[in-house]
C-alpha cells in the first residue's frame, strides 16, 4: 500500500494508492511531478516563473503555456461566476499584506511594477484562438488556490488506472474509488475553532473535497490568507467553507469564493452550480447544500 509524501506548493502533498501493482512507483512519481511542474509555472514567489513573467508585462498579448492558460482561464471564469468574490488579481494586495515569501527560501519577492489599487479580473483578457493572455493594467496574478487544485486533478488523472487512491495537498483532497476496506473514503472536516475535533465526516468517492478556513495561514496581525477582493481586507463572516466537487481546482476555487461571499450567498452559488458544500460561521452556525453525504 504505497503512501508517499513530498513538499510542494508550500505544503505537504501525500499520495496513497490502495493496491500496489504495475508501475505504481512511476505513476506516483509522475503524479508528484505535476505539483512541481505547475508550481514552477504558476508561483507568485519567483520572479522567473511564467506567471511572474506574465505579470511583469501589461498591455501586451503574451503567449501562455497550456498550464498557465487553463489556470488563468478557470480563475477568470470563476471570478465572473462569483461576481468577483474570487479574484485572481489580488496578488499585489496579498503581497502588500505580507504574503510575499517564497516558502522554500524565505526570499521576499517584490512585484516589479507599480500596481493600481483597483485592478480586477476584468483587467485580464484571454484569447482562446491564439492562447494568449493580456493584462490590461499592471497587476500581479495570484493562482495559489487554482494551481494547487489543478495539480491535484492532474495527479489524479495519473493514478486513474489504480482506481482506489487518495491525494492530499494541504487540504485539497481528491479521493479515487474506495478506501482499503472497500468503502467510500471518509473525510473528516476539521472543526474551525476546536483543535483536534471534527465538524463532520463526509463519505467521498471519485470526488474532490477542499476547505478554506480562517485558521490556516496568517500574515502579520490577525489577517488570514483569504482576501475579500471587494475591500482588500480578510473576509469575515465565515470560519470555514468546504466544497465537494468533481475536481479539486473547482472545489478549491469555489471554497475560496464561498468563503468570501459569506454563508448565504456562498451556499446559493454552490446550489446554482449543483455542487455540495458546508459553510461554518465564526459563531459555529452551519449552512449546507442539499446532498452533502455525511457519514452516519
Amino acid at each position: 500500500m504505497p503512501l508517499r509524501t513530498q513538499i510542494a506548493m508550500d505544503t505537504l502533498v501525500s499520495i496513497h494508492v490502495v493496491r500496489a501493482g504495475g508501475d505504481v512507483d512511476t505513476a506516483m512519481e509522475r503524479a508528484f511531478g505535476w505539483f512541481h511542474e505547475i508550481e514552477d509555472r504558476c508561483t507568485r514567489f519567483r520572479t522567473q516563473s511564467e506567471l511572474m513573467q506574465l505579470s511583469a508585462q501589461s498591455g501586451v498579448a503574451v503567449p501562455a503555456s497550456t498550464i498557465l492558460y487553463e489556470a488563468v482561464h478557470f480563475a477568470v471564469t470563476l471570478a465572473e461566476e462569483s461576481g468577483g468574490a474570487f479574484d485572481p488579481t489580488v496578488g499585489h494586495k496579498m503581497a502588500a499584506r505580507g504574503f510575499n515569501r517564497e516558502h522554500r527560501t524565505g526570499e521576499v519577492v517584490r512585484a516589479a511594477v507599480g500596481v493600481d489599487g483597483d485592478v480586477t479580473y476584468r483587467d485580464v483578457r484571454l484569447d482562446p484562438e491564439r492562447r494568449t493572455i493580456t493584462l490590461l493594467r499592471p497587476l500581479t496574478l495570484d493562482l495559489g488556490a487554482v494551481a494547487k487544485g489543478l495539480a491535484v486533478d492532474a495527479a489524479a488523472r495519473e493514478l486513474v488506472s489504480f482506481e482506489d487512491f487518495a491525494i492530499d495537498a494541504g487540504g485539497d483532497l481528491y479521493l479515487g474509488g474506495v478506501n482499503p476496506e472497500g468503502e467510500p473514503w471518509r473525510v473528516g472536516i476539521r472543526h474551525p475553532r476546536i483543535e483536534g475535533e471534527l465538524i463532520t465526516t463526509l463519505r467521498v468517492s471519485n470526488q474532490a473535497v477542499c476547505t478554506s478556513g480562517d485558521y490556516e495561514r496568517r500574515g502579520a496581525g490577525s489577517d488570514h490568507h483569504i482576501l475579500n477582493p471587494r475591500c482588500g481586507t480578510s473576509a469575515g463572516s465565515v470560519a470555514s467553507a468546504t466544497v465537494m466537487a468533481s475536481g479539486a481546482m473547482l472545489a478549491d476555487g469555489l471554497a475560496t469564493a464561498a468563503f468570501v461571499l459569506g454563508p448565504r450567498e456562498g451556499i446559493a452559488l454552490l446550489d446554482r452550480l449543483g455542487v455540495s458544500g458546508l459553510i461554518v460561521t465564526p459563531e459555529l452556525e452551519r449552512y449546507e447544500t442539499g446532498e452533502l453525504p455525511h457519514a452516519a
Partner: protein, 272 residues
C-alpha cells in the same frame, strides 16, 4: 439551501445571487476540460522540454573533454538527481520543527489505520496525538480537509540545513585557459553585470565583475534555490580562473550548477 446548526437566522432565500448565472454549469464543465487539456498537453510538452534542456547542458559538458565513461554517467545523472533532489525535502520539516513532528506523527488517533512506512509521516493525518481519539473513527488514513500545515512550515525549509550532499566533481574540465594571447579587442566591457539562471528547484543570480576586459570575479549574489548555494561554492571562482562560464559539474547539484552557468552566461551577455 439548507441551514443546520444552533442559531436560526433570517433566511433570505435567493437574495445573494452573485454573477449572472448564465455560465453556471459552464464553470463545472470548463474546469474538467481545463484539467484534461493540461493533462493531455502540458505535462508531456513541458516535461520533454525540461529534459531537453538537461540533455543540452549535459552535452555542453560532454562535448568538451569529459572522459567517455564519465560522459556516459553524466547522461543519466540529471534525471536521477531531479528525483533525489525532489525527494530530499520530505523529511526536512519533520526534522526541523518538533511541533510538526507531533502533528504529523503517524496516525495515533486513527487506530485502525494501516501503518505507513515509518519515514513517511502521512500528511493526511492531522489529528493532534494528544487529542482524544475521535470516536467517529475517520477510517483508514482518511485525509482531513485542513491539515495543520501553516506558517511555520513556510519558514522551515529556509532554516533547515539540507543534509549536505557529498560533493564530487564529475569531471575536471578544461585546463585553466592559457594566458590569453593578446586579444584583438576586449571580449567584455568593464562593469558589474547580473544575470539569472533558473532550475527546477529555484533560481540563482550571478554577479560578474569585468575589469580590463577580463572577468575579475563572479559571485552568487542571490540564491533562491531550495538547497543552500554552498553546495556549489567552488564554482564561482572557476569563472574568473577560466575566463568562461564553463564551470565544473557538481554531482548531486547538477540543477544548481546549471542555474549558475546560465546566470553567468546571461550576465556576460550584458557585458558585450
Amino acid at each position: 439551501m439548507k441551514k443546520s446548526g444552533s442559531v436560526e437566522g433570517p433566511g433570505k432565500q435567493g437574495s445573494g445571487k452573485p454573477g449572472s448565472g448564465k455560465v453556471a454549469n459552464g464553470l463545472v464543465a470548463m474546469s474538467c476540460a481545463g484539467v484534461l487539456a493540461v493533462y493531455a498537453a502540458g505535462y508531456v510538452r513541458t516535461r520533454s522540454a525540461a529534459e531537453q534542456l538537461d540533455a543540452q547542458s549535459v552535452e555542453r559538458r560532454v562535448a568538451q573533454d569529459a572522459p567517455r565513461e564519465e560522459s556516459a554517467r553524466a547522461e543519466v545523472r540529471p534525471g536521477e538527481n531531479r528525483q533525489e533532489e525532489r525527494r530530499a525535502p520530505e523529511s526536512v520539516p519533520a526534522a526541523s520543527d518538533p511541533r510538526e513532528i507531533a502533528e504529523l506523527a503517524p496516525a495515533p488517533t486513527v487506530s485502525n489505520a494501516p501503518s505507513p512506512a515509518p519515514s513517511h509521516a502521512p500528511a493526511v493525518e492531522v489529528f493532534e496525538p494528544a487529542a482524544a481519539p475521535a470516536p467517529v473513527a475517520v477510517a483508514p488514513v482518511a485525509p482531513v480537509a485542513v491539515p495543520v500545515v501553516s506558517a511555520p512550515v513556510a519558514q522551515a525549509p529556509v532554516a533547515t540545513p539540507v543534509p549536505e550532499p557529498k560533493l564530487v566533481a564529475v569531471s575536471i574540465v578544461a585546463p585553466p585557459a592559457p594566458a590569453p594571447a593578446p586579444p584583438p579587442a576586449p571580449k567584455w566591457k568593464d562593469g558589474t553585470y547580473y544575470g539569472w539562471g533558473t532550475s527546477r528547484h529555484g533560481d540563482i543570480q550571478a554577479e560578474v565583475v569585468v575589469a580590463g576586459g577580463r572577468i575579475a570575479s563572479a559571485t552568487i549574489s542571490d540564491c533562491r534555490t531550495r538547497y543552500p548555494c554552498s553546495v556549489i561554492d567552488r564554482l564561482p571562482p572557476e569563472v574568473a580562473q577560466r575566463q568562461s562560464p564553463e564551470v565544473d559539474y557538481i554531482s548531486r547539484a547538477t540543477q544548481s550548477t546549471n542555474a549558475f552557468y546560465y546566470a553567468v552566461v546571461e550576465a556576460l551577455g550584458k557585458a558585450k
